[in-house]
Amino acid sequence: MFDVNIATVLILSLLVMVALGVHIAIALGMTSALGIFLITGGNFDVVIAMLGSTAYESLRAYEFAVIPLFMLMGEFIGKSGAVTDVYQAIHRGLKRIPGRLAVATLLGNAIFSFVTGVSIASAAAFSRIAYPEMKKFGYNRGFALGTVAGSSCLGMLIPPSVLMIVWGLLTERSIGQIFLAGVFPGLLLVSLFVIYVLATAILRPNLVGATSPPIETKILPEDSSPDASTTQVWGSALGITFVVVAVLGGIWFGIFTPTEGAGAGAFIGLVMAIAKGMRTREIIDAILSVGRTSAPILLLLVSAALYSRTLAMTGVSTAIQDTFLGTDMLPWMIIAAMVGIWFLLGMVIDSISIMLLTVTIFEPIAVSLGYDPIAFAIIGILAIEAGLLTPPFGLLVYTVKAAIQDDDDSISVMEIFRSSTPYWIIMLTGMIAIASYPKIATYLPDLIF
């Protein structure tokens, strides 16, 4: 039904452009243009008509507003200082726990993950908040930064998350359901991360600074930040709790759709930011910064829509699916192959680009193999997110490295990669757990929807 030569040309040209470092949105868009040109027998009018129509139609859905609005919420709350407060509150609460700074980092990041949908935001914030503290108490620097990088993955794995939103938009599945499906797997990962840190603290106490005394012994961490009063800390903790309850609860109980939840979240975030004394200038900066990060993602979505339409127009997507399904491979082997491809891509390109390149092809295959589409969304997001910790491109590791660059540039990226490996393995374990027991993901959404 389709021309093998066209399919080959399309896949090759896309790979070559991506590899040469052409902007992914452009690589997708130009490949699509080429594909339409070839399939229509060289009709350039149809090519530009398709481009124009897709530019107008592909983002014209209420759900796309979710992306900038949730990012706005995360930005407001992140910049308001509320996160630092909560980190310190947890830190104070865990007096006798071994490796408590690392545990506080994990838990703080987990809570922060409920309000931010972008892992990089978590990584940047916690590199500055948690790393100096851990360094002060003689933690192994690699271990400390690995913990920051690893726990920052939670930003995408605990709802709301840009990856979940994009997945929902690409597959036309309910974003609300995917959010709810992410709750238990997220908590599972947090628990496994904490167990890992506690085990490390007990088995290898030198990594958490137990053998060497704190460098500044006189200053206890409680006193190290005189600017955060108990009231402030409680205020921040309550504020973040309120956002989580209002947004997720609102979506859960059907008071609003994900788009409205995101709008409400951004609004509450703004109120919190003002309450925490954020100035007009800082608020404007936050809004601009969201513009800078959300526009490229939305443009990528335009190209992705174009690309998936081209695949449909050329019949390539059906052909790839038939090939996958026509082999003698067992269902789990096909899923393993997909995960393998995601890992490989995760080494070289970012999570959202990976989704745009693969999800519209992979998801129908998984569904026709009998996998639950919502559980598969979580499996996919875990696999793709794990790529953020794998060398050589692992974005989170570079973010962490960049965030501490000014204070401490003696630590190598490879060292951070090495210390992130346990977190990466835990995520893989979580993924296998969900593949074996999809109920972990689907229990909550099934309860509601």
Binding site: A25, M30, A33, A55, E260, G291, I349
Partner: protein, 165 residues
């Protein structure tokens, strides 16, 4: 400037949506046409931000291979990529032209039954945004070819930080 306008607009959507939610849940009176306004706004915001996203280097790309190229090849490949970008947005511009004119002449609108949102502002914003994006890519290509000193300085800076890593 466009960036500021677009980002502020995105921020403003928050309030429209909140008003609608409150109107619907508290006063039982949804505001007509909020979904229509929001979805057209998103398209306009994105196309207004495209030029800035391109010039500020925020567009996502893979540099695992390109960063190991010798400078001259690297510059050639980058320029090629920017030119492809310019062509892409130019094609969107041409492809949107007829529809934009039609939307204006025929008074095309979306959202029957609720609020009738005219289509021409969105369609013209796509035209305008694509034009800015095309120019931005051409500008990037120009800088890459004719202002190598600037690029080299940046590359040197980056190489330094990579070495440190």
């Amino acid at each position: 400037m466009l960036m500021v306008l677009a980002a502020g607009w995105a921020f403003f959507l928050t309030f429209i949506i909140i008003t609608d939610v409150i109107g619907r849940t508290v006063f039982n009176t949804p505001i007509y046409g909020v979904p229509e306004i929001v979805m057209n706004s998103i398209v306009m915001i994105v196309f207004l931000q495209a030029g800035y996203a391109i010039r500020s280097g925020s567009m996502l790309r893979a540099n695992f291979l390109a960063k190991n190229f010798p400078p001259s090849i690297s510059r050639f490949v980058l320029t090629l990529g920017y030119l492809l970008g310019a062509i892409f947005f130019l094609m969107i511009l041409f492809g949107s032209w007829d529809s934009a004119i039609h939307a204006w002449v025929a008074g095309e609108y979306e959202g029957e039954g609720a609020l009738r949102v005219p289509a021409w502002p969105t369609r013209f914003t796509i035209l305008f945004g694509s034009l800015i994006a095309t120019i931005s890519y051409l500008l990037m290509a120009y800088i890459e070819i004719f202002k190598p000193s600037q690029v080299d300085a940046e590359a040197e800076l980056k190489a330094k930080s990579d070495n440190a890593a």
